[in-house]
Symmetry: C2
Subunit: 178 residues, 2 copies
């Protein structure tokens, strides 16, 4: 499926529900991907997101100096890849090859987008001041891409210990909330 | 349904999937409740959570000086109350009365727990240093309560504009992930 440009003011609609994401980073021609659930929106436009990348993660060493990443959002058919990626380190393996994830060049940043994910959000780190204490990075989404699955995505939501809630039906209620 | 003590090391299992929550605060005998989706885990034990409470929110004026709150987690039958709470301000209304939410005394903090929610997490603010820039508060969960619905909760996940994804089925995969 082909991704199209997603208006930046719609980015929060993909992240606010709390899906597991696959974060890609790259440095010196080497890319990595990690599984991540600890993220939250901080602002609508420009979309600001905070995310936790621990100092134990191999990705931390790629994210810190380059200040670039891509937040890729997988859906249910990628569940096994999501667990696989979360269960090994980029120090030991090319996780893209091992779990059948296809790297596609991003448009603004160096880390790749993942073809199999229904959405890819190109980001730059705008604040690392909370990294020392909380492993927390604030990133700004500067380009966003999504395919038609983004309309009602069957996202994965981690309940711990390999238990994933799969997004169910949508309830639409009249609301003034953004 | 009666809530029982939830071990603190299990708190992340309730928040990591990204549900909409109802945040209660209290000051000078007056309590308030707000709808909130912008939260993320920061650590497992003690459970640290970051959450966004904007300076426009009436709750901000209760949270800031008291440094206490309760994160209550509603499930699907509470969807209309969740939207109602999100669509008005505590400046103008007693939202508990208006939306049929029952206040129950918490055990360690002043803000009430909400009886109708399947889980209630008593919190104290441990870091407000990111409040000025990002409206972000770091809270520590110091007591946690959940009833039997917490085993497979039909949580609400906001996709924007009053569209709520309702938690679907659970997929269990062998994993080394916590």
């Amino acid at each position: 499926m082909r991704k199209r440009a997603l208006p930046l003011e719609r980015v929060y609609q993909l992240l606010e529900p709390g899906p597991v994401v696959l974060l890609t980073t790259a440095r010196k021609g080497r890319a990595n991907v990690m599984t991540l659930s600890w993220h939250a929106m901080l602002d609508f436009v420009p979309p600001l997101v905070c995310l936790v990348v621990s100092r134990q993660d191999y990705s931390r060493g790629l994210l810190n100096p380059t200040k670039q990443c891509v937040i890729n959002i997988p859906d249910a058919p990628l569940a096994r890849a999501v667990v696989g990626v979360g269960n090994c380190s980029g120090r030991d393996a090319d996780k893209f090859a091992r779990f059948g994830l296809t790297k596609v060049p991003a448009t603004v940043v160096r880390p790749p987008m993942i073809q199999e994910c229904f959405a890819s959000l190109e980001c730059r780190v705008v604040d690392s001041s909370m990294a020392d204490v909380y492993d927390l990075f604030v990133v700004e989404v500067i380009a966003a891409w999504a395919d038609s699955r983004a309309e009602n995505p069957r996202t994965l939501h981690h309940r711990g210990l390999g238990n994933f809630m799969i997004a169910g039906r949508t309830l639409r209620l009249p609301s003034k909330m953004k």
